[in-house]
Amino acid sequence: MTQTVSRPGAGAQQVPLPLDVEAIRADFPILTRTVRDGKRLVYLDSGATSQKPRSVLDAERWFYENINAAPHRGAHQLAEEATAAYEEARAKIGAFLGAPENEIVFTRNTTEAINLVAYALSNAVTAKEPEFRTYAVGQGDEIVVTEMEHHADLLPWQQLCERTGATLRWLGLTDEGRLDLSDLDTVVNERTKLVAVTQQSNILGTINPLEEIVARAHAVGALVLVDGAQSVPHQPVDVTALGADFLVFSGHKMLGPTGVGVLWGRYEVLDKLPPFLTGGSMIEVVRMEASTFMPPPQRFEAGVPMTAQVIGLGAAVDYLQALGMDKVEEHEKVLTGYALAKLAEIPGVTVIGPPDTVARGGAISFTVEDIHPHDVGQVLDDLGIAVRVGHHCAWPVVRRYGVPATTRATFYVHTGYDDVDALADGIRQAQKFFGTV
């Protein structure tokens, strides 16, 4: 962990970056294209989806050109090779998180992984197998989320509560963009069945103190689901150290393909959950009257899986591991400190979220006085700079901070000082264009 902490007003200093940005950029074919009449693409929207290195694209093509077959079906050579490649990727992704392979369930994305757990908890209510009723949620039970959650980690729990009669409760936010844990012990109590919390906010950049939350949840016998969509791509995450029961994330935000996400679950918990989707390849015995299911992870992978995408995600993990997740984290931390200092130099710019790099990732949301975020984004786009504008699928957060929307810049392994400088210059140009300075 770097000790670099930039405070607003401290001045933006360029220290050598931990990653070789030029070498990394050469691995991303899309970064060679230009946008908006020949401008260099300054991609600051990795938080929405990351760009893909050539090795990931090659892995998918290799699969289709050489071993394309449905895994876990058929006895021909292609089926065997496809199954082996699919399961090797599972083991690799497990190792990346310090987890055994039978705790890795492939889903479509983070959203589906969270829905899988939420539906399993309500399917448990009517499950005929007694062990599948272990985690059933019903009236009198409580589900806890935070005001910082992405809609994907809020709506599935709202809906679970509507289906089951359980009550949704949440931890609020402080003015500094952190979780308000002052009422943790009352919000998380003996009625709590599950706590769902993000590790890194997609809008504020805040990194949450999970240890304290996990400890409290487990003390009252509640499960903990960690939304890792914005943390797993950007910092080392080890499920043993995390101590949670579930971790969910998306492949496409960590240099991998779209259409593949991961649910990691503690095996003894997964083993007691009924299925979410049912159908082919998740069954043991099927009769016309009733059927039995495979153990995890197959129980949760109905239908022919997204094989090429899983193999692509395996290649993305290889790429990240070759860089080193410690270095990825440090790289973004240095850039974040630099960007916060650069933005602090611009009058009228307000960062929504922690003002320094302590327990903070590289998602930087900001407002520009008297210019709507859409208009800021439009000027930046005209300059070739891709950012996200709007409420970032975290509407309660923008409401909490009294703004209609924000502009958000997010960083990744190919981001350099030139990208951050382009952002700062672009904001000044927007101010000039709209005549606010």
Binding site: D382, H391, P404
Partner: protein
């Protein structure tokens, strides 16, 4: 810079000095529309005088395009018959689907007056919804106002 093609002077003028802004009484119908991708919002009221749009009043928050669009719409529809106002809305929709084709803008110049300046917006698919939000709200509010009239209710 391509920006000037979207942010015409007329648009920026409407944005900085909106016409008809504020919610007014009396009104026959009030609607609240949002653009869920970005959180822009408009509350819009319609007051009819027989078949004529007597007043359109509104409050909202959003980008320059959405705010300028409602202001330009106010100028265009107040005093018109409801059917004419909705027809103008159809013309505006046609303009938004033109993908920046100057021929379409030229043809609609008489019908759309200041609002023809939004032609540049149609080149940016992500912004079309911003320009259309107030027109959708007007269509909705007019329909409600008409049906309120038919059932004899009024605010």
């Amino acid at each position: 810079m391509q920006l000037e093609s979207m942010y015409q002077e007329i648009i920026l003028d409407h944005y900085k000095n909106p016409h008809g802004r504020g919610l007014r009484d009396p009104f026959d119908a009030e609607v609240h529309h949002v653009n869920p991708t970005c959180g822009d919002e408009v509350t819009l009221r319609v007051k009819l005088d027989g078949e004529t749009v007597a007043d359109v009043s509104y409050e909202g928050m959003g980008c320059s395009i959405s705010q300028a669009s409602v202001s330009a719409m106010y100028d265009l529809v107040v005093g018109k018959r409801v059917t004419e106002a909705l027809e103008t809305g159809e013309h505006f929709m046609t303009l938004m689907q033109a993908k920046g084709d100057p021929a379409v803008a030229e043809k609609l110049e008489d019908e759309l007056e200041d609002a023809v300046a939004f032609a540049g917006v149609s080149k940016y698919p992500a912004r079309i919804k911003c320009a259309l939000m107030s027109w959708m709200a007007l269509k909705d509010a007019s329909a409600r106002a008409l049906s309120a009239h038919q059932t004899g209710g009024s605010n």
